[in-house]
Symmetry: C2
Subunit: 211 residues, 2 copies
Amino acid sequence: MPARRQPVPRVDTRRAEICRTAAQIIHEQGYDATSVNDIARALGMTKPGLYHYISSKEALLFEILSFGMDQIDAEVVAPLAGVSDPEERLRGILIRHASIATRAHGAVAQLTDEIRALPPRARRKIQQRTRAYFELVRDTLAELKAAGRLRDVDVTVAAFSLLGMILWTPRWFRQGGRLTSEQVAAELAKIALAGLLRPPARPRPRRLRAV
Amino acid sequence: MPARRQPVPRVDTRRAEICRTAAQIIHEQGYDATSVNDIARALGMTKPGLYHYISSKEALLFEILSFGMDQIDAEVVAPLAGVSDPEERLRGILIRHASIATRAHGAVAQLTDEIRALPPRARRKIQQRTRAYFELVRDTLAELKAAGRLRDVDVTVAAFSLLGMILWTPRWFRQGGRLTSEQVAAELAKIALAGLLRPPARPRPRRLRAV
């Protein structure tokens, strides 16, 4: 159960705490097997107390998935909006997104599959947001390709591969282990950038054994 | 509902059909929300008919996850056992595993998170098998690193990144879409190998502008 870190938590801190704790329990037990009571207990709240924040378990799931996308928007999309160089933007996406995905045991990032439990309208809203983010990643790769800076790879497969690498991290990364979240993010970025970007042009060697 | 392709299906064909269809339903509805009845209906079987093959829903989940690992053993691990060059083995792992992950809508590959629903002993059995496979991937990378053929990357992060790229494919790949399963596997392998392997040494250019 996460401890309160501030004497008077701000509203969004409380929201983050509820979303992360609920995501953790739902991830451990499965969505259908988790009751609102289980979540309230993990938060040290009463069920009516939790209902002060959310109207139903479905609404809570929508809130968790929205919270995940809000973090992407605030910490990946917005800070990179002014970055015109696509390579710098790609590096920023990798580092920033990987850092979110490993945070708080990656519980929120691991709930993406539970979108199936949302009613159609709510599901479409989340899908539109994930789609818009996917397009930012793919457009960045397409921009690099148009500038001749990308290897000869399919930009759609490349974009999903990047997201796969990032979104898989919470399934294996352990906080307090050998590597910090920052180190993992840096390694991922290194692998992905080397895999996608053409190496900087070197002067073509003469046909001699130069030493 | 998959149609029978052979007049008298072999036992393992029937096993594959049961595992894949059950995995698909469980993935769509969630493990807890899926009944043995739902699965029997999707297979065009009666509940007692399905119980001829499996003793419980838990046993079926164990069977599905074991089936996934059997495919990895038969189509990735065994054929590559005699391949001594680690680069060729790595390429084989990528191509072969990606081809399994996109097969039959990747339903089996997408059930990995449901391992939480297994009783401890069954869970440990699956975990031991996935661990052994992970070690094959990481050892292959370590072998390349020892030979100076790997970029300066952490082999553990690299191994999980490869697996993340591969295991994410069923979440976006659509059979009958723009790219075939083979094309996707080839693209993944290209990106991963470029990201991990040192480029072949070129003769060092003299400090002149050579043209």
